[in-house]
Amino acid sequence: MILRELCDAIGVSSGEDAVRDLIYTHIRDYVEAVRVDALGNLLAVRRGTGAVDLRVMAAAHMDEVGLIVVGYDSDGLLRFRAVGGIDARILPGTRVLVGPERIPGVVAWAPIHLNSSEDTVSIERLRIDIGVSSRDAAQNAVERGELIAFDSRLVELGPTVRGKALDDRAGCASLIALIQGEPFPFDLHVAFTVQEEVGLRGARVAAQAIKPDVAFVLETTACHDLPEDPDEPDQTTITRLGGGPAITVVDRSMVSDPRLVRFLAQTGEREGIPFQFRSPQHAGGTDAGAIHLTRGGVPSAVVANPCRYLHGPASVMNLSDFENQSRLLRAAWMALTPAVLERD
């Protein structure tokens, strides 16, 4: 299961190497012009039949949110900060792997017997325990600036999976599947990007190099379709698990190109592939936010797997949604022509 390999691999933003190597082994036999750019993006071309004259870019980000070592306490505990968006409230007691040696550690939490405050402990005050008991021992084991990942393995729950980094290894897995399938009518310029979680950094330079006419981003997006609290004014779930891949209409980073949104929805309806629209009411952005602003502007769209408990060690994603992400894009790409992008 490629999804399992990808999710269990560690690739916190700027440390995507293991994920990149893994993806390369899965696409090398299908692509040409493979290269790694200055930021670490993995770029390649999946040759098409040549029937359609469009430069099409498809992107999925390789990086995941994590933590980074910033210092040591005299008792050997590590100080850290977040890399990407992490809610500090999920960290107490969380298992982590520190640095390139994947040293096991745990976010310490004062016992409930002696600590009962409901006020959130900020990330600056949390510490990671790797088992050493002095500053020297900590410094010998771990360098400042080393990245820290959640220590979590993918578990199949039935129709769903639980694991870390589904955002966006699920998108990477879908893009790999699309590359490995039948060629498309056009050359597909694929970008497995770095540093999405810290500001869409990789996608920007990838798009600047690829110079696409149109771009599709394969993402994993938030979902919070839990039982509703009648006193809670905001009942938005963002997406619903099992409702099909989510097409973004608008998010914090972009208004999707309406022609592409319409085209994707029509494709889903025509082919009987379930899809849903992501609620526009919540934060979050994707690589498309950077791509659509490159050069003279690139019509862009996002198709995303709904995923609960995003940016944590144990997110939950529906496998049908995941499979339908690549099905919807395959059907759309097979039908994609320059006419889709003609202005009314």
């Binding site: 409230r89 007691g93 016992p111 002696l114 325990d129 578990v155 729950l157 039935g158 919540h282 060690p313």
Partner: protein
Amino acid sequence: MPLDLTEHLKQLSETPAPSAHEGPVRAVIQAAWTPLVDAFEQDGLGSLIAVKRGTGPEPRPTIMLCAHMDEIGLIVAEVRDGFLRTEKLGGTDYRALLAQPVLVHGRRVLPGVFGAAPPHMSRDRKKYPPASELWIDVGLPADEVAALVRIGDLVTFDAPFVKLRGERAVGKSLDNRASVAAVTVCLDELTRRTHAWDVVAVAAVQEEVNLAGATVAAYQVRPDLAIAIDTTFGEQPGVNDDVSFALGEGPTLGRGPNFHPGLFKALRQVAKDHEIKLQVEVLPGHSGTDAWAIQVSHAGIPTALLSIPIRNMHTPSEVVDLRDITRAGRLLAAFIETLGPDTLAQIAWKLPRDNAKEERTP
């Protein structure tokens, strides 16, 4: 075969057994103790009572070692739309459960997770969410969940035992499986030593709810001396130094009204004689351990408390120093070896003698 402490503790830690549901861990402990003891007894609540007979003349006095084997957990309180709301079983800390993996013990074991809103939408990050907003997600359709999970089903932490740097390890339920492992170390040591007294090792149930196991086990065993073995707070940020103890500096020996001063001194002396690191833990009242219940069984039992410092108590990620477990086990064995026909008299309370003159006579 020599005892592999790390492997033993891993098995103990990863076995799910919240209060009143200790069956799985009782089986693990019984298997580990069977080659080390002479007989097992039962009581009415399910504690495992193991007897290792001494070499002294009958009737032999008895020392009871008591380590509780139950763990904190959760029980399903509501099933709604395929999600599960829980209540605590023991002193579980919901603040350390957001986004954490769990196991739901329904008609089959279901891996799940405590749902945490993503940072994209959490509105108030200044407080931890109340228990009423915490739902477990087992990733199954609502009708399947309704068929597989009932109110009252158990929920335990899905947290592997992992070795850390040095001699430390992290795992769930090290409170109090670390102490059970210390008793195993002691029983293993005793197979290579002679002891005059009978030793009764109790893996007690239901400490985390109300000390129920120790209360009735002490009544049934009716020991002459008792030592409870539990965990105590390890030094860590956010915890007062007065009530926490360095990991790796030895177990702690309780001192205060819950403990017999003579027994305290005798244990401390044995640690000194054998150069076993030991810290003193001052407990001004209720120790919050089985020792509190044992001390007042029958006509009163001289009781001591040996504790192993752990960090992050009552989270899925308790941290222990393995050397402290070995030290606790060795100290218990060394102390048991010293027990003789005069021990009780030596530690007993003494009244002032009537004839002071006689006392001065050589």
